[in-house]
């Protein structure tokens, strides 16, 4: 039965440390986000609300930290004590990093979050019992808990607002954890199409909702296994290796630097999201 399946195939679901010995065969979904293009406009975040049935919790619950920004824009200042933030802000779109060795997976008491063959960190709402251990163990704080039964909460989806809900994924009920899925419903649809046609998904065929709207095209998403995919080319050019927790390029002293990095890589989570550093002109 199902738990049997989980236990028998544990190694498929849970990769301890990614390595070249266990490559992803057909798909490894990954993302890169160019922080120099990102303007912090929040379009991605709203797109996520629209695509993924995220509840609007209102001011009071937001104050309690109950918001559901699967994709949130973090904003940092880098003033160094100067009078003004005269080099602007640093915006950072933060979403589930779909770690190859995800800290959330190991602590789930019921195996509700685990690794899929195509490199996603899955969250199965039915299996989740709401221990919230995963959230506690996530260094990126990108897991969101349903403290309330939002479908029946006043003014979350009042009639006819509920008609907007996307039937491709469920509306979560009280007591389950949720997080960014890399728009798995879109991935599954295009993977199934490709399979029916006897091929793999072509680069650009499937977009995540955040990537699709981004006005500056800061987000790139695709299959890291596909040599023609832009995301893979970016990772390669930036010398960021999925399976390494300390990129050799960071140790090198070179005049021209590469911008690619992964957040909290040193925790050995092997995230699937690469960021490209923001740039600022020194001549002004």
């Amino acid at each position: 039965m199902s738990i049997t399946n989980l236990l028998t195939n544990w190694s498929d679901f849970r990769q301890q440390h990614p390595s070249a010995a266990h490559p992803h065969r057909e798909y490894k979904w990954a993302m890169s986000i160019d922080l120099d293009s990102c303007t912090g406009c929040n379009a991605c975040s709203v797109a996520c609300y629209a695509e993924n049935n995220l509840p609007v919790v209102g001011k009071e619950k937001f104050a309690h930290g109950h918001s559901h920004h699967w994709m949130r824009i973090e904003r940092y200042w880098d003033n160094d004590g100067r009078e003004f933030a005269d080099q602007g802000a640093q915006f950072l779109p933060m979403l589930c990093q779909h770690c190859e060795s995800a800290p959330c997976e190991t602590v789930c008491p019921v195996g509700a979050t685990n690794h899929t063959a195509d490199g996603l960190n899955s969250q199965v709402y039915n299996r989740c019992v709401g221990s919230r251990y995963c959230n506690a163990n996530c260094p990126y704080k990108v897991r969101y808990f349903n403290w309330y039964n939002y479908p029946t909460t006043e003014n979350v989806w009042p009639e006819p607002m509920n008609q907007q809900l996307n039937p491709d994924l469920s509306v979560r009920s009280k007591g389950v954890m949720e997080k960014c899925t890399f728009c798995v419903q879109r991935l599954r649809a295009s993977m199934n199409d490709a399979r029916t046609q006897g091929r793999l998904v072509i680069d650009g065929e499937v977009q995540t909702a955040c990537q699709q709207v981004c006005p500056t095209g800061a987000i790139t998403f695709g299959n890291l296994v596909d040599p023609s995919a832009k995301v893979g080319k970016q990772w390669k050019q930036q010398q960021v290796d999925l399976n390494i927790d300390k990129q050799p390029k960071d140790a090198e002293e070179k005049a021209a630097k590469l911008r690619g990095y992964r957040i909290l890589e040193e925790l050995r989570t092997y995230p699937s999201v690469m960021y490209l550093e923001q740039l600022r002109e020194s001549a002004v």
């Binding site: 949130r72 100067r82 802000a89």
Partner: protein, 736 residues
């Protein structure tokens, strides 16, 4: 894409069973349940309709006036999500958060569902027949001179019909009002370049100096500019463009600038002239009269007046001289003063001196159908209407697409003057502040149920006519579109001309097909042309490029000296136009309320931004409820302290503080429009939005601000989280 209108209409029907209720049951339904739900099925269907697979229909966004092409994902008769139309030249498949929230305007639970006629304090539901008959009776009973039509920006066939209706009434009183539009800039552009809104080529510029134009946030056509910005930052050559933003309060664009220069409010023109002087000194060839006119603006003086250091002026001038072409943009920060026109002219002069006109400032195309070209609005229009109302010159007032009771400063006494108008008709989606004052409220279709054509003010290439078409069946049978209402009214006045059209759809289709040759459909038959236009979401038109002709005369250009201090009201108030809230018309869409302000990350409330220095002087800390008082009024909000603002300035976002409209907008924050002082731009007569002086005092209470700065409160704790490099350390041309 769409074979015939019958199939299409059938498809757009909501398949009520299953649909929404099924989606909501979510995890609650955990068992296999036979015979509980209905299956989605059709009477007739077309080949392209496959259950469980979304079908996309192209339309035009109505959330702001930029006119982006959108694509509605429709499944089982419901529109689920709005995405950008990849073929639209303005937005190329991209969208902003505001645009996407359009779906929440459509499904909003607070929409008005039938015409309401005032009966004492209450609105009584009446039929459309009665409503239109009543309007016809009222307009027939007054002198045409006393009829006024107040609208937001109108274009396309709606505008043509509106004009025909006004002609039929014999009244020319059409007031076009936009609360936060760049109307002074338009007038200045007209003088400087010969057109109100030239095409700006951010992607061609190597340096952009923006004087408070929030082109990434809320200015003119932000999604279009954002795409240009991406190419400006990362051109094929690898030579990254440099953005310098000059403003007193940081905007989203300012937050993305390589150098954000906090300038003393109102001195933007002085800095522009100072830069010309510095450029001349650095050897740029500057015409003699200009050089003479700016000779007095030495770095020392400009630095003293503007608060921008001489070092930064020098560096900026050097950069502008070295890297060409550049682009100088004047935005709302520059235009918001009594001398806003002069500021804008000085900035335009800088563009001319740098040789950018014709390079990065390009000529737009004219629209071949001037009767459908957009009529842009301004604040002066509301002023004149208000004056006429005060003098009892308005007997019947129509209001469409604006909410003047909310956006008019208290000093205008608009609400009182409105009471002098015996019959007020308000076209509305919600019972907003203006609708509650109406005698007759006409409920509008949502943009997802409506037919319209739109010509945006800022078109990315050529000339175009965008189509707005229904993405699903109307949610409420009692709503109508503007086109249908005008057509209904015209049938009373000009029956011979309009009785032949069953509805606005047939009028529109006929008008388009009749003119198909001019709309790029000469080679197609009428049906094919129409289907293609719907399928694309619009048509391209052949427009003539307008010549850039104007010029700024340096000799007549006078930029006043900086403000003198005001002891009672020592601070300048900058009412901020945010990307989500704008003038507040979209405040009842909960995604926008919960979408954090990019800079402060605040949700669901207003706030008062101030510099730490200012806060320290006043003894204010973050979360203190403060009173912001001007000569014209006062408001209270929570204080937010940060370094993205000049110490002489405080800033409050617009769009909050509704006392009507709907459950998500009402009572959220405070309305900054109300406390604006009546100071006007000297040349155009526009309300000078940044001229209000205020004093800030603690109101006693302190709250914890509800914001989303990330798990560590916006602190990186020494970790490598959001990282910044100087651009000369990176080789962008090698990047993928």
């Amino acid at each position: 894409m769409i074979e015939n209108s019958f199939n299409r209409r059938n498809f757009l029907k909501v398949l009520g069973w299953g649909g929404a209720t099924a989606a909501l049951s979510g995890c609650g339904n955990t068992s296999v349940e036979d015979g509980k739900e209905f299956v989605t099925s059709y009477v007739e269907t077309a080949d392209y309709i496959i259950p469980s697979i979304g079908t996309y229909f192209n339309s035009t966004c109505a959330q702001c006036d930029a006119g982006c092409g959108i694509m509605g994902r429709v499944r089982e008769g419901r529109v689920l999500k709005l995405e950008g139309n990849p073929k639209a030249s303005i937005n190329n498949g991209k969208m902003c958060g505001l645009g996407q929230a359009g779906v929440q305007a459509h499904y909003n639970p607070d929409r008005i569902r039938e015409p309401l006629l005032r009966n004492g304090d209450r609105g009584e539901a009446i039929t459309w027949e009665k409503a239109l008959g009543l309007i016809n009776e009222k307009v027939g009973g007054v002198n045409a001179e006393n009829i006024a039509f107040l609208t937001g920006v109108v274009s396309g066939h709606d505008k043509a019909l509106l004009k025909n209706y006004l002609d039929a009434l014999g009244s020319g009183h059409h007031y076009v009002y936009e609360a936060v539009a760049p109307s002074v800039i338009r007038a200045a552009n007209k003088k400087a370049y010969g057109v109100e809104m030239p095409r700006l080529r951010l992607d061609k510029a190597k340096v952009i100096v923006s004087f408070g134009a929030d082109f990434l946030g809320a200015w003119v056509s932000p999604v279009h500019f954002s795409q240009q910005y991406a190419r400006f930052r990362k051109p094929d050559s690898g030579e990254r463009g440099v953005l310098v933003q000059v403003e007193s309060k940081m905007t989203l664009t300012g937050a993305n600038a390589d150098r954000w220069l906090a300038i003393r409010p109102g001195t933007e023109g002085i800095l522009a002239l100072g830069l010309i002087n510095a450029l001349a000194a650095a050897g740029l060839s500057v015409p003699g009269d200009v050089a003479a006119a700016v000779g007095g603006y030495t770095s020392e003086r400009v630095s003293k007046d503007t608060g921008v250091s001489a070092e930064h002026i020098g560096k900026l001038a050097a950069l502008l001289k070295e890297r060409s072409p550049s682009l100088i943009i004047a935005g709302s920060a520059a235009e918001g003063y009594a001398h806003g026109s002069q500021n804008a002219a000085a900035i335009a002069l800088l563009n001319q001196i740098l040789g950018n006109v014709g390079q990065t400032v390009e000529a737009p195309s004219s629209t071949p159908f001037p009767q459908m070209a957009p009529t842009t609005g301004n604040r002066l229009a509301l002023q004149s209407l208000n004056d006429n109302m005060a003098q009892d010159k308005v007997k019947v007032l129509f209001s469409y697409g604006t909410n003047p009771v909310f956006t008019a400063p208290a000093t205008m006494k608009l609400k009182e003057n409105l009471k002098k108008v015996p019959f007020k008709v308000v076209f509305a989606h919600y019972m907003d502040e203006t609708a509650v004052e109406a005698d007759l409220v006409l409920p509008l279709n949502s943009a997802m149920e409506d037919w319209a054509t739109v010509i945006p003010e800022y078109v990315a290439e050529g000339a175009q006519l965008n189509i707005r078409q229904p993405l699903m069946e109307k949610l409420y049978p009692g709503t109508l579109g503007l086109g249908d209402i005008l057509l209904g009214l015209l049938k009373y006045r000009r029956p011979d001309e309009y009785n032949g059209f069953e509805d606005f759809y047939s009028y529109l289709r006929n008008a388009m097909v009749t003119n198909k040759d001019a709309l790029g459909g000469a080679s197609k038959d009428g049906d094919t042309f129409w289907e293609a236009a719907l399928s694309h979401g619009g048509v391209k038109m052949v427009g003539e490029p307008v010549n850039l002709s104007g010029n700024v005369s340096a000799t007549t250009l006078v930029v006043p000296a900086p403000f003198v201090e005001d002891a009672t009201y020592p601070l300048h108030l900058i009412p901020a136009v945010s990307a989500s809230m704008r003038d507040g018309r979209n405040a009842n869409e909960p995604w926008l309320q919960e979408s954090p302000d990019p800079l402060t990350t605040i949700v669901w409330d207003s706030w008062v931004e101030m510099h730490p220095k200012t806060a320290a002087k006043l003894g204010i800390v973050e979360g203190d409820i403060v009173e912001v008082a001007s000569k014209s009024g006062a408001m209270k909000a929570q204080a937010y302290v940060f370094t993205g603002i000049h110490p002489d300035v405080i800033s409050v976002p617009l769009g909050y503080g509704h006392d009507a409209m709907g459950r998500y907008a009402k009572g959220v924050g405070a309305n900054a429009f109300k406390i604006l002082d009546p100071v006007f731009d000297k040349e155009t007569g526009e309300l000078a939005m940044h001229e209000t002086r205020v004093k800030v005092t603690k109101a006693g209470k302190r709250v914890i601000i509800v914001k989303d700065e990330g798990p560590a409160g916006g602190n990186q704790m020494g970790r490598k989280i959001a990282v910044r490099l100087t651009s000369n350390k990176v080789n962008l041309s090698e990047e993928v």
